[in-house]
């Protein structure tokens, strides 16, 4: 069980030239929520609402400003990333790191804790999205967006996580691969009782989730099923850029 207790995350505010700018900008504002073991959760919301930040707080990539994160009864709020990973929480990045020289085999071996060929092949067939030729490819800038996301997914699943967090797993993935990807995450959830948290705008993921968290301005605006969220999501489909353009339509914007 993963519990967020009054989780808040602030960053120093940008100086906007106003006379007395606020000292802090609150990205995540007093969020409390419990992720039950084996549940499939989707975190959604408008751009800049704090979805990714919330996910990164769980992994320890960003440090909490205040509040607490409890995992299976232990306070993990101050644990570094690797210790949270070793406790069973793993994170799939939206824009996975690209290396020079490090291969898929290297990453997968680190993830599995073994470079045994048979185990590597097992995970590849379990993930079902990578051919063997992939193994010795460097995870560098030559890989396509789709290829690197498949590698990212495989490295997460290879750790047999108790909690798997995927930040926009469909970025760079073609439309036809999203279905099988959802099936894979569902299968991992069912077979290994993996608590699955997906940050996404994609309807396929939102439909797959048991519970949806709608984040708006750093707060949870809604939790529940997709049907209940639809009216709010429809509201969000109107333009969210008006603060930027301030109503000017020189470019004849059709938003």
């Amino acid at each position: 069980m993963l519990q967020l207790q009054n989780v808040t995350f602030q960053v120093p505010a940008l100086d906007t030239g106003e006379q007395e700018p606020p000292a802090e900008q609150t990205i995540i504002n007093d969020v409390s929520f419990t992720f039950e073991p084996g549940g499939f959760y989707a975190i959604t919301g408008p751009n800049g609402s704090g979805k990714t930040t919330l996910a990164k707080l769980i992994m320890g990539i960003n440090a909490l400003t205040s509040g607490k994160i409890m995992f299976n009864g232990t306070d993990i709020s101050s644990l570094p990333i690797n210790e949270r990973s070793n406790a069973g929480i793993v994170y799939g990045f939206q824009h996975p790191a690209r290396f020079k020289g490090t291969t898929f085999r290297d990453l997968l071996s680190i993830s599995l804790g073994s470079d045994d060929e048979e185990k590597l092949v097992n995970i590849i067939s379990r993930v079902g999205v990578c051919s063997m030729d992939f193994l010795d490819k460097p995870v560098d800038s030559k890989l396509s967006g789709g290829e690197i996301k498949k590698i990212e997914l495989a490295t997460v699943i290879a750790r047999n996580p108790k909690v798997a967090i995927y930040d926009e797993p469909d970025t760079g993935i073609d439309l036809w691969t999203i279905g099988p990807m959802v099936d894979l995450l569902k299968r991992e959830q069912k077979e290994n009782n993996t608590t699955t948290i997906v940050v996404s705008h994609n309807k396929t993921f939102l439909e797959a989730a048991d519970t949806l968290l709608l984040i708006k301005k750093g707060k949870i605006a809604y939790t529940g099923d997709l049907a209940g969220a639809m009216p709010m999501l429809d509201d969000l489909s109107v333009c969210t850029f008006d603060e930027l353009c301030q109503g000017e339509d020189d470019a004849q914007c059709y938003r």
Partner: protein
């Protein structure tokens, strides 16, 4: 006779557990330690007596020659001039390298000049590793020079590696690439403590459709410094690329100066260069797979210098 230290050095520079199979020439403390020739590969001392000539017969395929150098005598600065003649249509691997074992406080050094004449259609892989070990406080100095002359349609792959231990290194690589020939150079250098390494490269794409790819990977630890210069000159329709990446750790400093000179309108030359610390997203990824900070750094560096 090879002693335990010699064997350790040999293992490091040439992956050899003992005397190699096939043609070899082992030089120890400025003297010939052992030599073997094969039916297709001849090795003999040059006229001046300051090096060897390795003559590979045309059409020699799947053969290798090892020419390691061992230095373990304090105060010795060994200079050699070796010439390689790689016959037409041959396909061979040359493993060179120098290992210094420093046991005292006097400096030890080796300057090896390797000149390659790669004949038409020949293919050669040249692996050169430099290491320095030992408890002594003397400076370990390695100044390698390679001069490469490639005729038409030849291929050369050069892997030049120096991973730690060497206090001062001044490398010079010069190459002239003939029509249809391809030269690939990968240089990997790791320096630490107060060490310094400099690499100067003068590469000329002389013939039509000649190609080159020059890759430099540098890791600069401690208070060490590395400078990498490359002048890539194109005199014909050709393609050349330079890729230099440096990772700075601690207080290391680096200069990377790639220069492209197109002296022909159909030359196509590109370069990419980067200097910086280990990327944060790479560290995050490996830590999210359970490695602690130091383990993550090591894995990234290992891959980078592979």
């Amino acid at each position: 006779m090879l002693n335990a230290i010699d064997k350790k050095v040999l293992k490091e520079v040439a992956d050899l557990e003992g005397i190699p199979k096939g043609a070899y020439n082992i030089r120890k403390n400025g003297k010939l330690e052992g030599r073997e020739v094969s039916a297709n590969i001849n090795i003999e001392t040059n006229e001046k007596g300051d090096g060897i000539i390795i003559d590979i017969k045309p059409g020699t395929v799947n053969e290798s020659v090892h020419i390691p150098v061992i230095l373990s005598q304090a105060g010795l600065h060994d200079v050699v001039y070796n010439t390689f003649i790689i016959g037409e249509g041959s396909d061979v691997t040359i493993v060179a390298g120098c290992g210094i074992h420093c046991g005292g406080d006097a400096s030890e050094g080796h300057s090896g000049i390797h000149e390659f004449h790669i004949k038409a259609g020949a293919k050669v892989k040249y692996v050169e590793k430099h290491i320095a070990i030992g408890e002594g406080s003397g400076k370990r100095i390695l100044n390698p020079t390679t001069k490469v002359f490639m005729e038409e349609n030849a291929q050369a792959q050069m892997e030049l590696t120096q991973l730690g231990g060497v206090d001062e290194a001044k490398r010079v690589n010069e190459a002239t690439i003939g029509a249809g020939s391809v030269l690939l150079i990968t240089e990997r250098v790791m320096t630490e403590k107060e060490q310094s390494a400099e690499s100067k490269n003068e590469i000329t794409l002389a013939g039509t459709d000649s190609k080159t790819n020059i890759v430099s990977r540098s890791v600069i630890k401690g208070s060490s410094s590395q400078d990498f210069y490359v002048n890539l000159t194109a005199k014909a329709r050709c393609y050349g690329h330079i890729e230099c990446d440096a990772i700075i750790m601690d207080n290391g400093i680096n200069q990377t100066i790639p220069a492209l000179r197109a002296l022909h309108p159909d030359a196509e030359l590109t370069h990419e260069a980067s200097i910086g610390k280990i990327a944060n997203d790479q560290l995050m990824k490996l830590m999210s797979l359970g490695l602690d900070y130091d383990q993550a750094v090591n894995r990234i560096i290992q891959g980078f210098l592979r």
